[in-house]
Amino acid sequence: MLILTRRSGEAIDIGGEIQVRVLEVSGDHVRLGIEAPRHVRVLRGELREEVERENRLAAGFQGRLSIRPAGGLRVHGS
């Protein structure tokens, strides 16, 4: 992992396309300004972890499903 020290107002450039600027530092809060192309998704790190947690809760428990399709399993769209 690359570790850099930045002051308020300073920025980091990533691949010439993405710029992350430190806007304000106050206590344990850091405000960041992010400039990125439209195709780059900028997400809070926790969000991906939340989605992964929900997927792990869902996957592997499908065997509990009490609903049985009438006429057996059919591939969707076929």
Binding site: R41, R48, E50, E54, Q62, V75
Partner: protein, 176 residues
């Protein structure tokens, strides 16, 4: 090929043609190593997305339009390419369901839908940058088997929505 499916406490082997499989180039979030799936109809509005690579990995999905008619998600150009969507094509969206210990649909992740292009046999779990939905909305199953969101009637889904959006609104405000 034979796909092993666990449902209702039973193990079942179902024959699925190779060209009926869906390829998830990025897997599902947290299951990046599982890239080939079969999608089964469980009777509207539920589906089973079953990994071909790992029988233990299967997701019950629901058609979100049956829960919230205004549901939708925007795709980036890169996501459209990964799904092999043609110009103007729209993917099918399905959402991951969590079950109660009794095996009844109890929650749905409307924040990160699964986008499917049936024609291109491709799938991708999206995490859109903006969404008014959370990762777990409570579901209620009626005695007649119909499934509905709990508490979204007035456009508000309770705590799940607030959790999903609090910090995201900050992020949006800063990205001008």
């Amino acid at each position: 090929m034979e796909v092993t499916v666990f449902l209702g406490g039973n193990e079942e082997r179902v024959e699925v043609a190779e060209d009926e499989l869906l390829h998830f180039p990025r897997g599902m979030v947290g299951f990046e190593e599982c890239t080939r799936y079969a999608l089964f109809d469980l009777g509207h509005p539920l589906y089973l997305l079953q990994s071909v690579d790992d029988p233990e990995v299967g997701f019950v999905l629901v058609d979100p339009l049956q829960l919230e008619p205004s549901y939708g998600a925007d795709l980036t150009r890169e996501e459209r390419l990964l799904l092999k969507l043609g110009r103007g094509d729209r993917p099918e969206l399905l959402c991951v369901v969590t079950l109660s210990p009794e095996g009844v649909p109890a929650g749905v992740n409307l924040r990160a839908p699964v986008a499917i292009n049936p024609a291109g046999r491709r799938g991708l779990q999206l995490i859109p940058q903006e969404s008014r939905f959370g990762v777990r909305h409570p579901l209620a199953v009626s005695p007649d088997g119909s499934i509905a969101l709990v508490g979204l009637g007035g456009g508000c889904g309770g705590d799940a929505i607030a959790d999903g959006l609090g910090s995201l609104a900050d992020l949006e405000a800063a990205r001008c």
